[in-house]
Amino acid sequence: MKMNRRDFIAIAVVLILSVAGFLVFGRSQKDGGAVRITSGGKVVGTYPLGSDKEIKIPFENGENTVVIKDGSVYMKNADCPDRHCVKQGKISKSGEAIICLPHKLTVEITGGEIDAVAR
């Protein structure tokens, strides 16, 4: 394999950036307190992680169903073609997020207080 010193510098830079990324964006191992749902950049609602709830977010041609159960959140259903968000499974730690790219929907877990009430 013909690799040179410059390659290893590039690899080192990527590794350093990813470690930095882990430190900046890293998931805390703390349990989250609230769930914030945004759609196209606007906050749809913030819900406590403690109480079980099923939230339907309608779109022009379908809807996503977010379920809060036993302190964790998952996307129960989505009618986008790839359904990555459904496959992503449950999240419960502060800083984690489920993203639905086709619907521009994010479901984030935040540390604590509920700063907005469901619309």
Partner: protein, 166 residues
């Protein structure tokens, strides 16, 4: 000239086949957004075998055609941003005399970075930011594998060209 045009055509066709192959046989390791980037083999080989504008043309035409055939406006934005940043980075790294494997790694990493940046813009949310380290590392691994394949193909192609000349 005709030989060159034929080569560009073959490269575009090959890039499209590899994109398609990857779409129907996804490398599913349970992390959404992580893929091998098979069609980047064609871009890397092209960088070493054709000119920069020709390579940019091959990459652009592949992205546009795949977008029209199988994608939508949003997926096209992701592909274009990924393809553009990745190509610029690879051209710079090639000038900086990184090896083929190094060039491929930088291409794969920047492709992932650009797509994540596009997602932040489209979602209007940085919630996806925690995904950056995962995508950097996956780019490192996939870029390395694609680099090995590209390196081998560039070697074989050069050998073939020498043998053809009498």
């Amino acid at each position: 000239m005709a030989k060159r045009a034929a080569k560009i055509g073959v490269f575009i066709a090959l890039a499209m086949i590899l994109s398609y192959l990857e779409a129907i046989l996804p490398l599913n390791i349970g992390i959404p957004g992580v893929k091998l980037g098979l069609s980047n083999i064609v871009v890397v080989v092209s960088l070493y075998s054709l000119t920069v504008p020709e390579t940019a043309g091959i990459s652009l035409i592949r992205i546009l055609l795949m977008g029209i055939l199988f994608g939508n406006a949003v997926s096209l934005v992701y592909s274009l941003s990924g393809g553009a940043l990745s190509l610029v980075g690879m051209i710079i790294c090639k000038r900086l005399r990184l090896s083929v494997i190094g060039v491929s790694i930088v291409g794969a990493v920047l492709h992932n970075v650009a797509q994540l940046a596009a997602a932040v813009v489209i979602l209007q949310s940085s919630a996806i930011g925690y995904y950056l380290p995962i995508l950097l590392i996956s780019g490192l691994v996939t870029g390395f594998l694609i680099g090995i394949a590209s390196d081998r193909l560039i070697f074989l192609e050069k050998k073939l060209n020498i043998q053809q000349k009498p």
